[in-house]
């Protein structure tokens, strides 16, 4: 079970702030996870926006990355401050 978190406008688009998913075996990197989730929640190209940062297990990753050891993945639009 993988925890996926959507923040800011992404949480509105996905209709949720978090979810737990059992992913198919071939969904094993960020670059294939994104289109998978985009189809699942009808997100269009929102996850592909270059301003969206990705965190695996609460650490930022840049470019593509394996999600084999991931327990938690977060998609973060630019932060808006408090």
């Amino acid at each position: 079970m993988l925890k996926i978190l959507y923040f800011g406008r992404l949480s509105d688009l996905a209709g949720r702030q978090e979810e737990y998913l059992d992913l198919p075996k071939d969904i094993n990197t960020i670059s294939v996870l994104k289109p998978y989730l985009s189809t699942l929640h009808d997100l269009g190209d929102a996850l592909d926006d270059p301003s969206i940062k990705t965190m695996i297990n609460q650490s930022l990753v840049f470019g593509d990355a394996s999600i084999i050891d991931a327990r938690e993945i977060g998609f973060l639009p630019p932060v808006g401050g408090g």
Binding site: F7, S11, M55, G74, L76, P77, V79, G80, G81, G82
Partner: protein, 148 residues
Amino acid sequence: MMILVSSTPFDPGKHINEFAKKCTSAGGIASFLGQVRSENNTVSTLTLQSYPGVTEQGIQGAEENARLRWELEDIFILHRIGTMQAGDPIVLVLTAAKHRRDAFEACDFLMDYLKTEAIFWKKQTGQNGTQWIEPRTEDYQDNKRWSL
């Protein structure tokens, strides 16, 4: 030292009094209270999201930076998440120091961090509907004042 990100409304005065009582060797306590502005009803509600764990860790990093830069007796940071109405407190930063210059500058620095770099997402609902907000250019400029 206390960092709290909470979905529960809070009482600023109560926290200031408790903090002041603890900091008996501090001559001065600077504070900043941010609250939801009501301006001709253009903002009726404000919703803040955090990334639990990551948000607190980021604030803690800023707090450690503040301690390196200024001589501080204590720091208290409380930030609301969830949905707030006009007049509700959003954020309270308290800094206690022997010398007031340290207290003021550290409080200012921490507010700059919270306003621009802290991991929060902000949604306003008002007369013009609902929108997610990104930092103002002015906020980024304030923050740059602290770069070495």
